[in-house]
C-alpha cells in the first residue's frame, strides 16, 4: 500500500500546478482548467485520508462525491456565463473582462 505521506506529496504537487496555472493563464477557460486541478487535488486527498487514517472511509468518499458533483455544476454554470460574456465582449481574456468595474 502506498503510504499516506506519498499521497499527500502527490496532491500537494497537483495543487501547486493548479495554483501556477491559475496565476499564469490569461484566458478564463485556462484559469477554469487550472481550478479543476485544485478540485482534483482536494478529491484525491479526501479519499486518501479516509483510506489510511482512522477517519471513516465512507466520510471521505461522500465528500469526494460532493466535490465532484459541485465541480460539474460549476463547469456547467461557468460555460453558460462564459458563452454569454463572449457574446457581449467577443473575448475570453481575463485582462479585458472587467464587467464588475464601472
Amino acid at each position: 500500500m502506498i503510504p499516506l505521506s506519498h499521497w499527500l506529496i502527490f496532491t500537494t504537487g497537483l495543487f501547486a500546478v493548479g495554483i501556477y496555472g491559475a496565476a499564469t493563464r490569461r484566458s478564463v477557460i485556462g484559469i477554469f482548467i487550472a481550478l479543476e486541478l485544485i478540485f482534483l487535488a482536494a478529491t484525491v486527498n479526501l479519499v486518501a485520508f479516509s483510506r489510511t487514517t482512522s477517519l471513516s472511509a465512507e466520510t471521505g468518499q461522500i465528500f469526494a462525491f460532493f466535490i465532484l458533483l459541485t465541480g460539474l455544476a460549476s463547469a456547467a454554470a461557468g460555460t453558460a456565463i462564459l458563452i454569454s460574456v463572449f457574446h457581449i465582449r467577443k473575448t475570453t481574456d481575463s485582462d479585458e473582462l472587467q464587467l464588475l468595474k464601472w
Binding site: 500546478v17 496565476a23 499564469t24 477557460i29 482548467i33
Partner: protein, 160 residues
Amino acid sequence: MGMNGSEISKIAGYLFMALCLLGALGAVVLPRLRHAAFSLAAALASAGILSFFLHAGFVGILQLLYAAGFTAILLYLLRSTEDKNEGVSLSYKVLTLLGAGLFSALAVKVFQKTPWVMQSNTEGFSFGSLFGNYFFPFTLFLFLALAVFTGIKTISKQDA
C-alpha cells in the same frame, strides 16, 4: 526473483501518479487550450484510476465519467468561444513557479512533522448513508444544484 502482487500494485500506483502530474503540467503549460483540455482529461482519468488503488471504486468510476463529461463541456466551450495561444512573460512564469515550489516544500515539511493517526480502512461506500448520516448535506447539495441549473437556464436564455 519475481515481484509479488502488492509490489506491482504499488509501482502501478506511482506510475499513475506520475501520469496524473504530467497531465496536470500539460494542462497549465500547453499554449493551445484545446491541447490543455485533453491533457486535463488525462490527469482526471489517471486520478480516477488512482481511486481504485485506494479501494474507492465508486469515486473512481465517478471520476472517469467526470473526466469524459468535463472534457466534452470544455471542447464545446472552446468551439463556442475562442481557442487561442497564450503568451505570458517569462519572469512572471519563473516567479509563479518559485512561489508554487516554495509552497510545496513547506507543505511537505508540515506533512513529515504531523503525527497522523494511521489505520488501514477498507470500509466501502454505500448509497444508504446519503439518506442516513449525510441526509442534510445531500439535500442541501440537491437544492444548490437545482439553483445552479435554474441559473444556467436563465443566463443562456438572455439575449446578447
